[in-house]
Symmetry: C2
Subunit: 358 residues, 2 copies
Amino acid sequence: MALLYSYQQLFTFSKNIFLQIGCSEANAETASKVLLSADLRGVDSHGIARLSGYIRLWEVNRINANPNISIVHETPSTATVDGDKGLGLVVAPAAMQIAINKAKNVGTGWVSVKNSNHFGIAGIHAMMALEHDMIGIAMTNASPLVAPTFSVERLLGTNPIGVAIPAGNEPPFVADFATTTAANGKLEILQRKNLDTPAGWVQTKTGEPSCSASEVKNGGALLPLGGDKEHGSHKGYMLGSIVDIFSAILSGANYGPWVPPFPAYVPMPENMPGEGIGHFFGAMRIDAFRPATDFKLNMDNWIQRFRSAKTVVGHEKVIIPGEPEIAIKAERLNSGIPLLEAVVKDLEELGKKFNLTM
Amino acid sequence: MALLYSYQQLFTFSKNIFLQIGCSEANAETASKVLLSADLRGVDSHGIARLSGYIRLWEVNRINANPNISIVHETPSTATVDGDKGLGLVVAPAAMQIAINKAKNVGTGWVSVKNSNHFGIAGIHAMMALEHDMIGIAMTNASPLVAPTFSVERLLGTNPIGVAIPAGNEPPFVADFATTTAANGKLEILQRKNLDTPAGWVQTKTGEPSCSASEVKNGGALLPLGGDKEHGSHKGYMLGSIVDIFSAILSGANYGPWVPPFPAYVPMPENMPGEGIGHFFGAMRIDAFRPATDFKLNMDNWIQRFRSAKTVVGHEKVIIPGEPEIAIKAERLNSGIPLLEAVVKDLEELGKKFNLTM
């Protein structure tokens, strides 16, 4: 059962909540826009459903509503940013903007961020580059739920990668994916429906293969993209590791098993080696390589060729990354954003704390 | 049955062959060093076994032994390089060196390459950055053997990604992987032994799941990392696409189904939209983000924590990417490089053409 809410209604509610915890007008708007971009793109697990989670982090003093986001180290094409414990929803766009500005000057810009928090979906930050005719890249580490190949222990987060590439007449290519076989959100959906997972998604707390959707809750682990060694899980493990290192070891954030958890009630890891969680952003000006018109002509051709490929039985077309999300966004802006009853109840409780109604 | 040959013997043979086709002394050495780095790292499919393949490309005038490798477009942090139909084994190190030089000046360097050929293994080019205390990145597109999720047609190459990251006392982190579930070389090994593949490696020419190691030879396709949609193949498809676009659409090389084939006897695709095959290289100076000593301290800690993780039954330790290759290299430099009889015979035939003995 899902109830429909208009984008404007949820945006206003979210903005008011962020204002109540002390965010500036501009930051409350940015945070709400980033948060709701997940709902508009169909990534329900990372949208408004997480609002109360962010607020609980503020309640335990893990989020600074008025951060002084600053560059602590830089060169013409790079910067290291201290997020000052700010909402990742606000720190990430600021850091991506720095990458874009550097790309304007010297062709590309690369920014590693420490002392931040969860930043919503990676894709939306990467997409900031598109209007400047740049390729955008965004990644983040996250608290450890993933066991590397052969490991029983959870040492990596789902560490997503977002890449946005402009096209000409075609919509942009937008990839946004966790470096695990399946994202944690998909597990939660199966859990709610009491269904098993396919093979290769999770393992038990002693490292055995499993198809139980509750495995991660019970101390087991998500598996890197590939599932097991025979199916290439070492590649998913390498990808997740690269995201971790670019996001946190370049910046001085926490990495691997020491990344702080999103749920405010989970205790912080001991002996943390860095500050907060880490992100990594990149912007590459297309015309730093080639005239943008030539690039876009080829991109359109690429997209059209892939979209029109002969398909396997039962599938209508080869999907261009980012294209399904355009339809979802149009549909949800038009008809409303569906929220599960449990989410609505959670938001109503949150509203009561601050004397706000949805 | 494998026969053992010393590194020096194979290096000299390879260098003499490259000299015979007209390469300069320096280029013949670079090409041989890159080619044999694959044998030293245990990637037998990409090493000396391919020497005769490169020479056959030269015979049909698809490789220029004396290329004028030039920058055709640049900014302080980027360059587009025309490989002038040179051996990828020579073009790639030249392009990576340009990325490194740019990183010295402005923090990072990014180079997209057109009009090149196969460049050997990605990892060895990425590793050039290590001695400069830089992170190195190398990728290339390749001729189409891979069907995107839901596609019957082969539209992507195995499009590998190499990432090399310096550490302190620990060996560097070196990831080098095809964006497919399994590389084509693994398929060839199973074929030779008359064994089936695990599920998720290949599909038939009509797009059905298969476990036949001969499937690709029979018109079927390799599958993107993940295997099928349920196991995340759309993520492998996105990764392979990103490699294709960075390597070829940024530079003006051929992309997707139009990438020229490695075997010289396979006809070239029709209506090719670019020049040769494409590569992409990156170099990021560690101290453009943070003092290198701090970074290396954290990298050592990361490596030690992962290596000492509790393992699943039957496995001794979690493998740090790049570490097994160090042992293989030491062993092969010491005891020799094993070559299959078929490879030895092929090299002897090649030698005869040029009046050279192994």
